[in-house]
Structure formats: structure tokens, C-alpha cells
Amino acid sequence: MIDKFSSSIVEALDGLTDGATFLLGGFGAVGQANELIEGVLETGIRDLTVVANNAGYGKVGLARLLKEGRVRKLICSYPRIAGSTVFEELYSAGRLELELVPQGTLAERMRAAGAGIPAFYTPSGAGTLLMEGKETRTFDAQEHVLEEALHGDVALVEAWQADRWGNLTYRAAGRNFNPVCAMAAKLTIVQTQHVCELGELDPEAIVTPGLFVDRIVHIESGDPQG
């Protein structure tokens, strides 16, 4: 019987290695898999590349991972951390590499990775500092930038509901980057607020079909704090 549930965070995070690229769902405080991220901290792995919209929110999750010096490089659209100076301190001190990516390009690069599209052209960012050195091409008389798929070794996702096949739903703005991260990693690990029996989720309303999910752990983390 297919059963993707792990009995603990430790089990769900088994096998992670130094140098891995992590894709983190979440936007602001909502939809962050903070317990999994702090579990990564516990594993002791380091030299990580982290892909996330924000550089953490508040002082939990990614903000802690950054503060503990585990992250070598951040690929991010909006790295300022509300209520924290962790990012700015590390970045100013040259202890954190930053690749700043327009938010839509960040999402689309992960979607492309998940969809087997190695590269695509986008108008976003054309003619700006962020695109210096990138290949460009004109379509419809407008400059476009060639952007490559952004793959992860591991995705850490927060879901609202999950079943044993790995089917997921999200809650309101908690959806954000989570379904895109789930598509784009070799190993997708989910923390879910609720566990459902197979067949309980409406097939018309499943957002992430199970084939994108590898491991799930049930964590009732409650409402986002932020």
C-alpha cells in the first residue's frame, strides 16, 4: 500500500546532505514549513542553497537557518526579513551570496523545472541591472530575457490537507509558492496541518496531485504567526 506519511520530522528529513538546494514554499509568514526547516537545522547539514520568496519571516524557520550560518546562497525575490536584521547583517558582511530574481520569474523558473522546460523567455527584468550578462532576444519588438529552470534537491512544503498518496490542498494565501516548489524538487517533503483518508479530498479541488510528493509528516502547527 502506498503510504507517504513519515512518523516524525527526523524520519521525513532522512538522507539530506550538505550542499543541497532547498526550495521553500511560503510568502510572508503564511505557508512556511517552519517545523521542517527547523528540523533541517537539527540535522546539522550546511552549505545550503535556499530558494524562497523571502529570507524568512520573523525569527523562525529560514531566519534561524540563516542566522546559524547554514546557508551559502539565497535565491530570492524579496530578502528583507520583517522584524529581523539577520539577512542584512549576513549579506552586508559578505557571508551570504544572493541571487535576486523577480518574483514571477522565480515562480516560473521552478514551474519550468517541474514541467521539463529547461529555459524560457520572459519580458520581466529586461533592461535592468538584475539581467546583466543574461542572454536576451527580441520577440514582438520587445526585449526578453532567457531564464533557466530552477531545480531543487529538496522542497519543503506546508499543506492544509494531505492523504497517503500525497494529494495536497492548501489554505487561502498559504498556497503561494508551495505547489510550484513541490513540482520542482527531486525530493518533496510536506508538513500538513490535516490528514485525510484516501478519497476524502475532492478530485476537482486537489491542488498538488500526489505524484509530486515523496514524504509527508503531520504537524498541526496552527495559524501563521505574523
Binding site: F27, G28, A29, V30, N53, Y57, S77, Y78, P79, R80, A82, F87, E88, Y91, S92, L98, L100, V101, P102, Q103, G104, T105, L106, A107, E108, M110, R111, T122, P123, S124, G125, A126, G127, T128, L129, L130, Y170, R171, A172, A173, G174, R175, N176, F177, N178, P179, V180, V207, D223, P224, Q225, G226
Partner: protein, 220 residues
């Protein structure tokens, strides 16, 4: 900057937002940036149905919730708690930016550090080595929305013009701004320059020009 003897009172942030909101027709889908743009939602004239998009995956964003009635899972792109109107929907980030990049938004309203006479927008970094650069969705919105209006103060706190011949800050996108709503005026970016559409009561064209770093054309 030039000393100006004022017999006029600049628009408040809320008044800038309200003035801009007047120009949004019924039925438009609109994305609002953080700052003054966010206030636009509160000033859409009664009975006019406008649909607000938040790039973090919401269409049909409603007003801020009543205290004690906050859904902590429901935030806008500025990370403020919001509500969802009847008819609203949720989607993921790639779908959300497909809407933006695919030109499905009628309007985006953004704040700006600077806007040039060509409609260039600078609103994401103070310098090329900003200590905390943060672009968010601004570049996608600037390129993707069918039209981009800026809502901002006409001059900096130090009195320097924000509307200039060219931007000194790193660009968000070139030639994207169609209209500028400030505390002093409403200005259209036309192919051959900046046309004043409206000035606040009591302000002369010369006073406005004096606070603007690019040549203005008089109201048509």
C-alpha cells in the same frame, strides 16, 4: 529646491489614492503595490465593482478584516491581513504571475522612487549595491500589466523632484508608466513627454514645474 510660497495644500496619501481610484472604471482587474497604492482599494466609489489581485495568489481581495475577525491565512502582497470578496479565488504563484505577465490585469498601481519623462520606473533599489535589495513582483508587474499608474509624493522628503529627465536609481522597467498621481498633480506620460492633466487647487503650473525635474506640458 526652489522655495515655494504655498496657497495650496498637497493631497494627503489617502487623497492621492482617492483621486486615482476615481479613474478606475467598473470591471477592471487591478493589482496594488505597497504604500499609497494599497490605499486605493478603500477609495473605489461606492457601487463600482473593481476586482483586486494580490500577486501572492488572490483575486477578489476585500478590505481589511474587522479586529477580532482576522483570518491569519489571508494576507496580501504587502503581508497585511485582508478579506476575500464573494467571487474571489486562490491560485499559486506561477499562475498568479501568468496573469500578470500574460497581460490579464487592466491596471497595476505602484509606488516609485523616481519616474522619468519617458515613463521609466525606479522603485526597487536605492543603488546598485543596496544593502538590502528587494525586487519582489515589481519588474513583472511593470512589464505585464496592461497599464501602469504610479502613486507617489511629488518630491522627496528633502524636496528633490521624483519626476525627472532620467532615473538615477536602478530601473524597474523602462517606458512602462502611463500616468502619475502625486500629492500635487495628475500627469500623463505621453509619447513626446509629460502632460499635466490636473493640478490641485491653488497650485500654478509654474509652481508645479518648479518641483518637477522634467519639462511639463500644460493641460490640454
Amino acid at each position: 529646491m526652489t522655495e515655494i510660497t504655498a496657497n495650496w495644500k498637497p493631497r494627503s496619501r489617502a487623497q492621492i489614492a482617492a483621486r486615482l481610484a476615481m479613474d478606475i472604471p467598473e470591471g477592471w482587474t487591478v493589482n496594488l503595490g505597497i504604500g499609497v497604492p494599497t490605499l486605493v482599494a478603500d477609495h473605489v466609489p461606492e457601487g463600482r465593482e473593481v476586482i483586486f489581485h494580490a500577486e501572492n495568489g488572490i483575486l477578489g481581495v476585500g478590505p481589511a478584516p474587522a479586529e477580532g475577525d482576522v483570518n491569519r491565512w489571508l494576507i496580501n502582497a504587502g503581508k497585511q491581513h485582508v478579506t476575500l470578496l464573494k467571487g474571489g479565488s486562490y491560485f499559486h504563484h506561477a499562475d498568479s504571475f501568468a496573469m500578470i505577465r500574460g497581460r490579464h490585469l487592466d491596471l497595476c498601481v505602484l509606488g516609485a522612487y523616481e519616474v522619468s519623462e519617458k515613463g521609466d520606473l525606479a522603485n526597487w533599489a536605492r543603488s546598485s549595491d543596496d544593502s538590502a535589495p528587494a525586487v519582489g513582483g515589481a519588474m513583472d508587474l511593470a512589464k505585464g500589466a496592461r497599464r501602469l499608474w504610479v502613486a507617489m509624493q511629488h518630491v522627496t522628503r528633502e524636496g528633490a523632484p521624483r519626476i525627472t529627465k532620467s532615473c538615477s536609481y536602478p530601473l524597474t522597467a523602462a517606458g512602462c508608466v502611463k500616468r502619475i498621481y502625486t500629492d500635487l498633480a495628475v500627469i500623463e506620460v505621453e509619447a513626446d513627454g509629460l502632460r499635466v492633466i490636473e493640478m490641485i487647487d491653488g497650485l500654478s503650473f509654474n509652481d508645479l514645474q518648479a518641483q518637477t525635474g522634467a519639462e511639463l506640458k500644460r493641460p490640454a
